[in-house]
Subunit: 198 residues, 2 copies
């Protein structure tokens, strides 16, 4: 019972922190915001995360990476043999979320990645991108690209989407992301048509 309550307290703190990091970044998120958002008292936060904000943020980013993996794997599975459609769907979900949140909610990792953070927080950002890159790379390789080509295309795709999210937030418009989704779709289909084994 005690264990279960403790685990759910920890999970609530992690969930709220992940949401705050996504919406406003690392510097703007204080422990008091996490307390307010999660309902977890400050003493309990320090019990679970003795190193404070950087430790909670690292755990939140690791949880985000896990959710991104599930989300992307589900998208890939829902478009068998069509990784490009999965990429387009990935963009479409972001377009919906940007619109629904009035351009507050973009990539859950990018803001913290760009802020000045070090150590475990930065490493957690890096690992989250490794997850996205590897799921997408595997899907492109399964569609017939060589390992090297699939890795390059995965990196190019994730970069283009992340950058389009930056532009969409800056311009308060989903148009950059929608247009980049279209260009990416053409690029990846042509790459697969030219490079993939028949």
């Amino acid at each position: 019972m005690t264990y279960s309550k403790s685990a759910s307290t920890r999970a609530a703190a992690i969930r709220s922190t992940a949401q705050l990091l996504r919406a406003q970044g690392y510097a703007a998120t204080g422990l008091s915001d996490i307390v307010k958002e999660s309902g977890v008292p400050k003493g309990s936060l320090y019990h679970h995360f003795p190193e404070g904000k950087s430790e909670i943020a690292s755990a939140a980013l690791a949880a985000t990476a896990g959710r991104l993996r599930s989300h992307l794997e589900a998208l890939v599975a829902s478009h068998p043999g069509e990784p490009v459609a999965a990429v387009e769907d990935f963009c479409n979900r972001y377009i919906e979320q940007l619109e629904a949140s009035q351009f507050v909610l973009g990539c859950p990792v990018a803001t913290v990645s760009l802020e000045y953070v070090e150590g475990t927080v930065q490493e957690a950002c890096g690992r989250a991108f490794d997850v996205i890159l590897s799921v997408l790379g595997a899907a492109l390789e399964a569609r017939g690209l060589s390992k090297r080509r699939a890795a390059a295309a995965s990196l190019f795709t994730v970069s283009a989407i992340e950058g389009a999210l930056v532009l969409s937030k800056a311009q308060a418009s989903t148009e950059p992301l929608a247009r980049v989704r279209n260009t990416l779709g053409e690029y990846l289909r042509s790459l697969i048509a030219n490079e993939a084994a028949p």
Copy 2:
């Protein structure tokens, strides 16, 4: 004399703020940081920028947009008829700056764009990207792409570079940006070869 001193005080505040926004973003940059970095006293900051941090930040982002325009135009001019080489050079400068700053200094607009900012600050971010997109779009159009193709390729290019900067900071490695530069170079050369008027 008074006017000149006042103008240079304003310029010093703007320059320091632009550097701080680039290195750490909006939320982490307090007025006291700007005072410390610029040497401009707080009273003088409020004299020049009565609305405070958001007004200084907007002015700093406008100055950044002007510098980005000059920088990109100079790169384009230094590679006559070779906009792709200008894009590669643009990436190479970022690679040098990331390395020299231990991955602190990336795009001077992206961090603030992703943070939760509104009003004039967000608009200043949007205008800075408009500048980059239009300089690059014009260079691609001059190389023979249709206006529509040039605009799409410019947006795709800027997005890929911005996203690669996010990944390079997250992974504390210039490899994502270097690899995206290579893929972008191939993509743009092939686009120009296929689409441009001879």
